[in-house]
Symmetry: C2
Subunit: 588 residues, 2 copies
C-alpha cells in the first residue's frame, strides 16, 4: 500500500504552520459529521490534530471521509488553517489550527473495538488484558509506558556517569533452591538436566566484584515461581547493582543520588537528601512495619514500662513472656461508636490478634471495658505517654513482639485512611530501614532462614553472637521505603570464605550442600574477593509509584494475571508432544 510519508506528527502543528501543505498519519480518534462537514480528531502517540473534510474544499476526500470510522488508520494531505474564531480548543497545543483535507488514503480499517480508546475506562481488567494492544492505545497507558522509558534512561545515565558498568548476566542459570521457587527450563542437549531462570543476578554480581568490575549495574528481568498475590508478576524487573570497597554509607549516598535524579527527571521534584533512617526495631515499634508510611505521623508507643507492676492479667502475661504492649492514639476519634469499634476489633482479629483494647479519653478519665483493671497511676501515665486529650481514642494491643507490632501497624494504616491523613499533594516520604535481623526462625522447619539472603554480612560487632545466639544478630542490610512501599533492598555481603562458612552453619546448610549449591561462588571467594555490597530496586513498583498507579500491571506493557496467565495469547499453553519428547520429559 503506497502512502505519503508524514511531514508532521499529530502533536506538532501550531499557528506557525498555517498555510503549509502537510501530511499526517494516524488513527481516527473521533468523528463528527456536522451535516456536510466532517471533523476528525486524528491521533498518534504525539497528540491529536483536527482534520476537516469539506465537500466544497475537496469533494472526493469528503466522500472517503464519510466512510471513516473510529480507529481506522489513515494518511491525509491538506492545508493547515487557523480554526475559525470560537472553535479553538485551548486545552490541546494543536487546538488553534486544523487541516483542510485534500487527499485521504485509508491505510487500514478497524472493527469496532471492544472498548473505547479513552482514559478512565470502566471495563473489567480481563478485557483490557485480552485486548492489551488496544488498551495500550489509551493515552493513560501510553503515558505510563513512556514514563517507564524515561526512568530507564534516567537511571542508566546516572549510573553510567557514576562509573557503573552495565553487564548482562545469564538468564539460563543453575537452579539454587534457596529462597523462592525457581522456574525451570529442561535441557534438550543434556537429558535430565535443567536450567533455572534467575530469581536475581545475586551470585553473578558478586562474581563480578570478584572480577574487579568495581561497580556493576543492570536493569534486568527476574523470575519467581510463587503463588501469585494480587500485585506480583512471575517475571519482574529490577535495577540491580553492586559496588566494591564500600560500606553501607557509600551505598546510601549513591542511591540517594539515584533517587534524587529520578525524582527530578520524572516528577520534576527536588528530593532532599540525605534521606532519614530508621532501624528495623525503631520502625517496628513506631510504625509496626519494616516499610512504614511516613506521610503521616500517627506513631505507635511502646507501653511496657507503664505496666511493669500491672495487675491486669493480659498485660502481665505479655510482659512475663517478653512480649510487647503497644498503643496508638487516634486523636479526635473519641466519638467512634461501639459499632465502629467492633469493626476495628474484627479487623485486628482477622490479622491474628486476640482482641483490641480501646479507651475513650474523657475530661474525667478513660472510658473503656478494661478501665476497671487499671490503676489510677497506670491510667494517668497512659494519657501522659500517649499525649492524649479529651475526645481522643486509644488503642492498645499486646502479645508477642513482632506479631503485636505488625498488627498495630496495620491498624495504624487503617486509621490513617479513616482519619484521612494522607492528603493528595503530600510530599513523597522516603526512608532507609537499617539493622535488620540477619536470620528469621521458622517454626515449621525448625531452622533459621536468611532474612535477606545467605550472603548478607552480619553487623561486625555481632560476629560472636552468630554461633551463640544467632537470632540476635543484626545484618548489614537495608531497605529503601517510599510512601510505605519497599522499593529497594540490599546489603553489604560476606566477602570472607570463613565467615560465609559460619553463616551456612547458622542456617543449617551443610558443607556438602553449600558446595553443591554455591560451590562456584565459594570457590571464587578463595581468589581475592573485595569487600562489596549492593542493592536492587523493584523497578515495576517504582514505576507504579511514579505513575501514581495502584497496580504494577498499569506500568507493564504485557502483564500476566495473578495466576500467571497471559490473557492475550493464552500462555502458558499446551505444546506439541514432539517438543516434550525432544526435551526428554513427559507430563505427570
Amino acid at each position: 500500500m503506497k502512502f505519503n510519508k508524514r511531514t508532521h506528527t499529530c502533536g506538532e502543528l501550531r499557528e506557525d504552520n498555517i498555510d503549509q501543505h502537510v501530511v499526517l498519519n494516524g488513527w481516527v480518534d473521533t468523528r463528527r459529521d456536522l451535516g456536510g462537514v466532517i471533523f476528525i480528531d486524528l491521533r498518534d502517540r504525539y497528540g491529536i490534530t483536527q482534520v476537516v473534510f469539506e465537500p466544497t474544499f475537496n469533494q472526493s476526500a469528503h466522500e472517503i471521509g464519510k466512510d471513516l470510522r473510529s480507529e481506522y488508520v489513515i494518511s491525509i494531505e491538506g492545508k493547515v488553517r487557523r480554526r475559525p474564531a470560537g472553535t479553538e480548543n485551548p486545552s490541546i497545543p494543536t487546538g488553534f489550527v486544523d487541516v483542510m483535507v485534500e487527499k485521504v488514503v485509508i491505510l487500514n480499517k478497524s472493527l469496532t473495538p471492544p472498548f473505547q480508546i479513552k482514559d478512565k475506562l470502566d471495563v473489567h481488567e480481563d478485557i483490557r488484558l485480552k485486548y492489551r494492544y488496544l488498551d495500550l492505545r489509551r493515552k493513560e497507558m501510553q503515558d505510563n509506558i513512556i514514563l517507564r522509558h524515561k526512568m530507564y534512561q534516567s537511571a542508566r545515565s546516572y549510573l553510567g556517569a557514576n562509573d557503573f558498568i552495565e553487564i548482562e548476566t545469564p538468564v539460563l542459570m543453575k537452579s539454587t533452591p534457596e529462597g523462592a521457587r525457581d522456574f525451570l527450563v529442561p535441557s534438550r542437549l543434556h537429558r535430565g538436566r535443567f536450567y533455572a531462570l534467575p530469581q536475581s543476578p545475586q551470585q553473578y554480581k558478586q562474581l563480578l566484584m570478584v572480577s574487579g568490575f568495581d561497580r556493576y549495574f543492570q536493569i534486568v528481568k527476574c523470575f519467581r515461581d510463587e503463588d501469585l498475590r494480587a500485585d506480583r508478576q512471575p517475571e519482574f524487573t529490577q535495577i540491580d547493582l553492586e559496588m566494591s570497597f564500600v560500606d553501607s554509607e557509600d551505598v546510601y549516598e549513591m542511591m540517594e543520588g539515584l533517587m534524587k535524579r529520578l525524582f527530578k527527571d520524572i516528577k520534576g521534584y527536588d528530593l532532599q537528601v540525605p534521606l532519614p533512617r530508621l532501624t528495623f526495631d525503631e520502625a517496628m515499634e513506631k510504625y509496626g512495619s519494616d516499610k512504614p508510611d511516613l506521610r503521616f505521623d500517627l506513631e505507635m508507643v511502646t507501653l511496657n514500662e507503664i505496666f511493669e507492676e500491672t495487675e491486669f492479667k493480659v498485660f502481665k502475661d505479655t510482659l512475663n513472656n517478653n512480649g510487647i504492649i503497644t498503643g496508638l492514639l487516634a486523636a479526635g476519634c473519641g466519638d467512634y461508636t461501639r459499632n465502629q469499634l467492633d469493626v476495628l476489633t474484627d479487623f485486628v482479629k482477622k490479622l491474628g490478634a486476640g482482641g483490641l483494647i480501646w479507651m475513650r479519653v474523657k475530661e474525667d478519665g478513660l472510658e473503656a471495658p478494661i478501665a476497671k483493671f487499671l490503676s489510677d497511676n497506670e491510667k494517668s501515665e497512659l494519657k501522659r505517654k500517649l499525649n492524649a486529650s479529651a475526645g481522643d481514642l486509644i488503642f492498645i494491643l499486646s502479645g508477642p513482639r513482632l506479631k503485636a507490632l505488625s498488627i498495630m501497624g496495620s491498624l495504624r494504616l487503617e486509621m490513617a485512611k479513616r482519619m484521612n491523613l494522607i492528603g493528595d499533594n503530600i510530599e513523597p516520604k522516603l526512608v532507609w530501614i537499617t539493622d535488620f535481623p540477619l536470620l528469621e526462625w521458622d517454626d515449621e522447619t525448625h531452622r533459621y532462614y536468611a532474612m535477606h539472603h545467605p550472603f548478607t554480612s552480619p553487623n561486625l560487632e555481632d560476629l560472636e553472637l552468630l554461633s551463640d545466639d544467632p537470632g540476635k544478630v543484626k545484618a548489614r542490610a537495608y531497605d529503601l521505603v517510599y510512601n510505605g512501599n519497599e522499593i529497594a533492598g540490599g546489603s553489604i555481603r560476606i566477602h570472607d570464605a570463613k565467615l560465609q562458612g559460619k553463616m551456612f552453619d547458622a542456617l543449617g546448610i551443610s558443607n556438602e550442600e553449600a558446595e553443591t549449591k554455591f560451590g562456584f561462588l565459594m570457590n571464587a571467594f578463595k581468589y581475592g574477593a573485595p569487600p562489596h555490597g549492593g542493592i536492587a530496586f523493584g523497578f515495576d513498583r517504582l514505576a507504579m509509584l511514579f505513575a501514581n498507579q495502584d497496580s504494577i500491571r498499569e506500568v507493564i506493557a504485557f502483564p500476566k494475571t495473578s495466576s500467571g496467565m497471559s490473557l492475550m495469547d493464552e500462555s502458558p499453553s499446551i505444546v506439541d508432544e514432539s517438543q516434550l519428547k525432544e526435551l526428554h520429559i513427559k507430563i505427570k
Copy 2:
C-alpha cells in the same frame, strides 16, 4: 573487617598528587622484593599504581608487605612521591609517581590462581570459562565488557533521542514453533502447560505498533534451542526495534544514523553514510554470499552467456538446467602448484561441489585440464570477461544457481586469505543487502518457509506472484552486513490481515494453525494496524566486531560452551525430584 575507604582509584594518581596522603584499595598484580624494598603493582579496574614498602620508611607495613602474594586484596595508606629518576614507567599514566606505604590491611588473601591474570593468555578456553571470575579480571576482558557497556549507552541514547520508546516485552511467552526450536518452561500453576522463552520479541513489537507506540526499541535477551554451532549461544542479545508509518528507506536512514553514532562513540571512526546497497541477487552473483565481505574486491563473474553454445558437457548440462557458471580470477596466482590446486579442489568438494575447474593464464592461452573442450572463442571471451592476464589463475564452478554461487563465495574468502587481501587497518565495510526472496523451498518437507519470518511483506510489485509463483516473490527485507558478518536483519511487515492470509497460504499454514499460533496477532491487525517495519541487531556479534575479537564469547561476561553448558556453575544441572513433581513433569 574495617578498612579505610579509598581516596583515589589505582588509575588516578598523577604528578599533581605528589606529597598527598592517599588510600588505595586493589589487587596485588605483581610483587618484586628487591632485597629489602618491596614494590607492588596495585591493580583495580581503573589502572595500576606502584606502591612501595620500605623498612626504613615504615617497618610494620614492610613486615606485612613480605606476606603479600599475587591477587591478595589490600588497602594501603601512604604518601605519593615522584618516582626516583630513571625508574619512571611512561607506558602507564600513573607511571611517574608511586606511593610510599605507611599502613597496609589485607582485605582478603588469594590462592594461587589457575592462570596468570594477564593479557594474551595461553590456556584452554575451558579453564578460562570454569574460572570466568578470574578470566574477567584480565584487562583484555574488562576492556571488552566495558566496550559493550559503552555500546548499550550509546545505542540507547541515540534511539531515545530519536523518539524510540524502550518497552520490555515478556520473557515468559507463548510457544510458536515456527522457526527455531523454543526453550520451554513448565507451568506449576497450570498443569501440562508451558511458557516459551522468546526467540525474538517479533510479535510483541508488532503489537506495540498496533498500539500506536510509533517507535519502539529494546536491548533484549533472546533464546534459541538449536544444535549449537561454534559461535552460537543459547541466549543472545538483540537491539530490537520497530517503526510505524515507514518504508525501507526510513529504516535504512535511521539505522545508518545508529551505526554512525556507534562507530563514532566506540571506535572514534567517521562512518560515511548513506551506506552502499546490493540486492540479494547481486550479492550472490558477485560475492557468492548474502553477507559479502567487501573489504576486498575479488568479484565473481557470471559466465553463462559465454558458454551459450558450448560443447563442453558440464557447462551445457548446467545451462540446460537453469544453472549458473561462475568464474573467479585470482590475479598473479598462475604459479599455484598442482598440489595447491588439489587442496582447493578438496575445499570446494567438501562444500558439495562436484569438482573445481581451474586454468592457468599463459601468454599464449589457457593451461587447464578442460582447455581442450573449449572453443578458441570461448577461451578468449573468458579472458576478456574476467580481465585475465598472463600469470593469473581462473576458477570456474557450475551447477544449481545458489549452490554454485555460495561455494564460489567460500572459495572467494579462502583465496582472499591466501592472497592476503585483508590488511590490518583496512576501513570497515558496511553494506545493505536488499530484495531477498520472500520464501525458501524446503525439499525435505516439500513446502515453502519464510526466509525472514511469516510477517515479512512481499515487494508490492510482486503481489500477484504470491499465489502463482511464490518462489519468485521478493521481500521487503534487508540485512546489514559489516566486514562479511550479518549484524542486523529486518523487514517491512505485512499490516493487512488479507495479505497475511495469502502469506500463510503460500507457507501452507492452514487458517486453523494460523489461528492457534498467531491468532492474537491476527486479531490485533483487525483493529487498525499501521504500516510498520523494523530490524534487529545481533548485539553480541556487533560487540565482537567492535572489540576486534573472533568469538562472541569474548564479549559475553558468562557465556556457555557450544553444547550449552556453563562450566563455572555446571548448569544445566540435576534438580530435586520434588521440583519436578511440583511442575507436573518427569524425566523420560
